[in-house]
């Protein structure tokens, strides 16, 4: 069930004799997508119609405007929420965590990732759901920090 707006038959007619080029556009089914049905009003007299129509090129095209709409809206909302989260991490998070004594040393740790993630795994397996989410977030943040150090600061990779 295509929406009425989502199909078109587009005929491009090039300049012919003294008629300039023109583009015709109509909502017709694929079967009817030819010059005779689409080009209206016909700019040439009857006996010239066939010759004119031979020059025109008609293409039947479909789209889904819903797909476009949904895609763009999802895209924008995801980017928007990520931006908000980024601002949160940048501005609000340091304020909250300023007095938290346990994140700081971990960031300077130069141990292998494994050992840390083990320790983290144990820590992440806390009691409440909140603590677990907290743990997972901490772990993720550390990973991103590690990546940032590798890529942006040390230029060890991807340069």
């Amino acid at each position: 069930t295509k929406s009425f707006e989502d199909v078109r038959c587009k005929c491009i007619c090039p300049p012919y004799r003294n008629i300039s080029g023109h583009i015709y556009n109509r909502n017709v089914s694929q079967k009817d997508c030819n010059c005779l049905h689409v080009v209206e009003p016909m700019p040439v007299p009857g006996h010239d119609v066939e010759a004119y129509c031979l020059l025109c090129e008609c293409k039947y095209e479909e789209r889904s405007s819903n797909t476009i709409k949904v895609t763009i809206i999802i895209y924008l909302s995801v980017v928007g929420s990520l931006l908000l989260y980024m601002l949160f991490l940048l501005l609000v998070d340091p304020l909250i965590r300023k007095h938290d004594p346990y994140t700081q040393p971990l960031q300077n740790e130069e141990d292998t990732e494994d050992v840390r993630s083990q320790a983290e795994g144990a820590a992440g397996r806390g009691n409440t759901v909140l603590e677990r989410v907290e743990g997972a977030q901490q772990r993720w943040k550390r990973q991103v920090q590690e990546q940032r150090k590798t890529v942006f600061d040390r230029h060890k990779m991807l340069s």
């Binding site: 707006e5 300039s20 020059l55 479909e62 789209r63 476009i68 763009i72 895209y75 083990q118 340069s159």
Partner: protein, 807 residues
């Protein structure tokens, strides 16, 4: 001792070595008919990936001290996998499932689902990548047009879709309609005049700046691995390297989002390379759904190979070309089964993308072309010239870009990645706007350049002065250039220079950036310029002997669009050094076998010229710049060195650190681990005989000892470690012995010291080894690791061997 037959009693006592003290006769439980099944015991337990050691089944461990500790058989970050070991693990797993198949219906279902999980995972990869590619296409199109204006009918429509059903489009301006408002129109109310131009200019630059700033900030904040093209890293990963998180969920999300932003910002970059990365992320994430692929690094790389094919398939709408790209350019281990699956996945992805129909014309790419004008044999000369141009450009670009990237890596420039992106964006946008050929997106430019001028076209490139010829033939005949075409040519020349310079500084910035589209744009511009020049030459000089054979006046004998296509292929070939896959991709873009010979001629010439000017393609150059441990499968190693020239330890250095199969205490082992940084230790019968028994990986040894100290009672630092099949009965005064035969590789690869290095390199490449032991007349002499080989190859090529950073 004349009988070399296998004897398991002899294994424990007499077969050790003839000089060894044969005092302790051990109690052996193994009989002749049951050889020790190492493989079973290593892989019987599916160890989950990475650092789950503290977790599961502790009481079970007490009953089965021979069972390897969890974590054994996994790899650390930035390490290379051992393909042979991984494949063995998988075969064992497979065997176990097959053997259980007949036990119950449940097991039977498991075995069936296991057999089909390979197809299922590539199906899912195809669907997911196709859908993502469609979303990226739609969003990027919309955002690109957002720099110009906005649709009043619905802000989510791009310019073309805004005027989708409008009857007010004209032949000259096909995408203009009242519903679409440019920013000048919205702000000032007028569409022309210098003020409107300035407003449009400013809005263009500011949107570009906003998009690129968002892109680089998101990358920096959430997934630094999402920047760049990703193909060099994927090549390395497919060759067996491990970069944790490089193909993860966050990378996928951020790469998808920022790719759209980066493409829309008008920077000189394309989405094709990053799409390969996106598809590989999909592959890696979907692998987690299936045990077979989650637990095995080698199997997972099969899926990733298929995913790389999927990436190119959706990027160019070329499923066969994608498979060949994966085979020729990206993959390392590509068995036939992967070929089939890649092809299937590439088809599924192309089909998905087509059903999404992002461009509304049932095509998968913007620059799909369809023309069938013939070409003359003499035209091979300009095509080869284009090939030479492409080769020179490829080599120059590689050098310039590598120099720039090295500069970014080492100087202060690298400290300001965000600023760099912003500056480049501003420069690009400011320079691009005045020139219509650079203002439009690169894909559109390529599409316009590829198009042959027909009567239906209204492009500036087709604006010839007086059109004559049969009105019934669709194509136009050769014709003199008009003023406006001459102007367009000048603009194209400027666009060429602009693209060439901007691409060099853009590729490698900290945003997702592909290389295919800019390279193709450069080539297409050059090709179109040459094509138009040829056309004019043929028009004005049609009585030359050369042209008289094929170019009578009033006939259409030169197709500038074809020249653009050939030029694009040549430049892309020069930069990436693809040949067959490139030709097949272009063939699928045009759908006609007619042009395969010109394309092949240009691609081959380009590759040869580029190879003569600089050995490496852009991806290999970036791999080397970053020092990834990538053992190139293409080139031949042709130096006359032997294994003993490469092995560690070199002559005169202290001997290899080895363990003996018995008599080593836990304390000794821990001291060895602490004092050395080797990633593994050979196990020998005795230090005197140096007869090789097996090989133990450092990581496995550490994990096993820690595990035993935690779980097993009585294991202290004086406990003896046994790698033999049978341990002596523990005397009550000693601490408990530690049996570690299970973690030892009983079939380490060995070569003799006199083996030529080319053979060794071949073995490493083809079998995907991580290390190989060197023996002389049966005595252990040294070890060669992949890193040693890479260092040796760098040394032989007169490069700094210390650039190889990873194991």
């Amino acid at each position: 001792m004349n009988n070399p037959g296998y004897c398991s009693e002899a294994d424990c006592s007499t077969a050790t070595d003839t000089v060894e003290i044969t005092g302790v006769t051990l109690d052996c439980s193994g009989t002749e008919d049951s050889p020790p099944m190492r493989l079973e015991s290593i892989a019987g337990h599916d160890t989950p990936e990475g650092g789950m050691m503290a977790a599961n089944g502790a009481p079970k461990m007490m009953d089965l001290p021979d069972e390897p500790a969890p974590g054994v058989g996994t790899y650390e970050d930035f390490n290379t996998i051992d393909w042979v070991r991984e494949k063995c693990k998988d075969r064992d797993r497979h065997r176990e499932i097959t053997s259980r198949k007949k036990e119950s219906i449940c097991a039977w279902i498991i075995s069936i689902s296991d057999a089909f999980s390979g197809w299922l995972v590539v199906l899912l990869v195809g669907l997911m990548s196709g859908a993502l590619a469609g979303a990226i296409d739609i969003s990027a199109h919309w955002m690109t047009d957002l720099k110009d204006g906005v649709c009043l009918d619905g802000f989510w429509f791009n310019q073309e879709h805004c005027c989708w059903s409008s009857n007010e489009t004209t032949f000259q301006e096909r995408d203009r309609c009242p519903q679409w408002k440019s920013w000048a129109e919205l702000i000032t109310g007028s569409t022309s005049g210098p003020f409107a131009y300035i407003v449009n200019y400013l809005s263009y630059v500011s949107w570009a700046l906003l998009f690129s700033f968002l892109a680089v900030s998101l990358v920096r904040a959430f997934a630094p691995y999402a920047c760049g093209s990703g193909i060099p890293e994927i090549k390395t990963i497919l060759s067996g390297f491990i970069i944790r998180g490089y193909l993860g969920k966050w990378t996928l999300l951020i790469k998808t989002l920022t790719l759209v932003l980066a493409v829309s910002s008008g920077l000189s970059l394309g989405k094709e390379g990053p799409l390969v990365h996106v598809a590989c992320c999909c592959g890696n994430i979907l692998c987690h759904l299936f045990t077979k692929y989650r637990t095995n690094e080698a199997k997972r790389r099969e899926v990733l190979s298929a995913a790389a094919a999927v990436g190119v398939s959706v990027a160019f709408g070329a499923p066969i070309g994608g498979v060949l790209f994966s085979l020729e350019e990206v993959s390392y281990y590509f068995p036939l089964k992967t070929l089939w699956r890649s092809f299937f996945a590439a088809l599924v992805a192309a089909f998905t993308l087509r059903s999404i129909n992002p461009f509304g014309n049932s095509r998968l790419v913007l620059f799909y072309v369809e023309f069938h004008s013939p070409w003359h044999l003499l035209e091979l000369v300009p095509f080869i010239l284009l090939g030479i141009f492409g080769g020179i450009w490829g080599a120059l670009f590689t050098r310039a870009n590598i120099a720039w990237c090295r500069c970014r890596k080492t100087t202060r420039l690298g400290h300001y990645p965000v600023l760099e992106v912003l500056v480049v964006t501003v420069v690009t946008a400011v320079l691009a706007f005045p020139n219509p050929f650079t203002r439009m997106s690169s894909s559109e430019l390529i599409s316009e350049l590829f198009n042959d001028c027909s009567r239906l076209d209204s492009s500036k490139l087709c604006d010839f002065s007086n059109v004559t010829g049969d009105p019934f033939s669709g194509a136009l005949v050769d014709r003199p250039a008009s003023k406006s075409l001459t102007l367009a040519m000048v603009e194209l020349c400027l666009a060429l220079i602009f693209k060439m310079i901007m691409t060099v500084v853009t590729f490698g910035m900290k945003v997702p950036s592909g290389l295919f589209i800019p390279s193709m744009a450069v080539g297409a511009i050059a090709g179109r310029l040459l094509g138009v020049a040829m056309e004019q030459l043929a028009y004005y000089q049609h009585d030359w002997v050369l042209f008289s054979g094929w170019c009578s006046p009033g006939a259409n004998c030169i197709t500038p669009g074809l020249y653009a296509m050939v030029g694009a292929a040549a430049c892309l070939g020069g930069v990436t050094r693809m040949t067959v896959s490139l030709v097949v991709i272009m063939f699928e873009l045009t759908g006609g076998l007619e042009y395969i010979v010109p394309l092949m001629a240009a691609a081959m010439t380009s590759k040869w010229v580029a190879d003569a000017l600089g050995r490496e393609g852009i991806y290999e150059a970036h791999i080397r710049l970053n020092g990834y441990p990538f053992l190139e499968a293409k080139g031949e190693f042709s130096h006359k060195t032997l294994a003993m020239d490469v092995m560690q330890p070199r002559r005169g250095y202290p001997p290899l650190s080895v363990l003996t199969q018995s008599g080593v205490t836990v304390g000794d082992a821990q001291a060895l681990i602490a004092n050395t940084s080797y990633s593994g230790f050979p196990v020998v019968i005795s230090p005197e005989s140096q007869r090789l028994v097996g090989f133990v990986l450092r990581r496995d040894l550490i994990i096993s000892i820690e595990n035993a100290q935690k779980r097993q009672e009585g294991v202290g630092s004086t406990s003896q470690i046994f790698f033999t099949e049978c341990t002596p009965p523990p005397s009550p005064d000693e601490s408990a012995p530690l049996k570690l035969r299970g973690i030892m590789d009983l079939s380490p690869f060995t070569v003799t010291d006199l083996t030529a290095m080319d053979i060794v390199v071949d073995i490493f490449r083809k079998l995907g080894l991580r290390q190989c032991l060197v023996t002389h007349n049966g005595r252990l002499l040294g070890i060669i690791t992949k890193k040693d080989i890479l260092k040796h190859m760098a040394q032989m090529a007169n490069q700094d061997p210390d650039t190889i950073l990873f194991n």
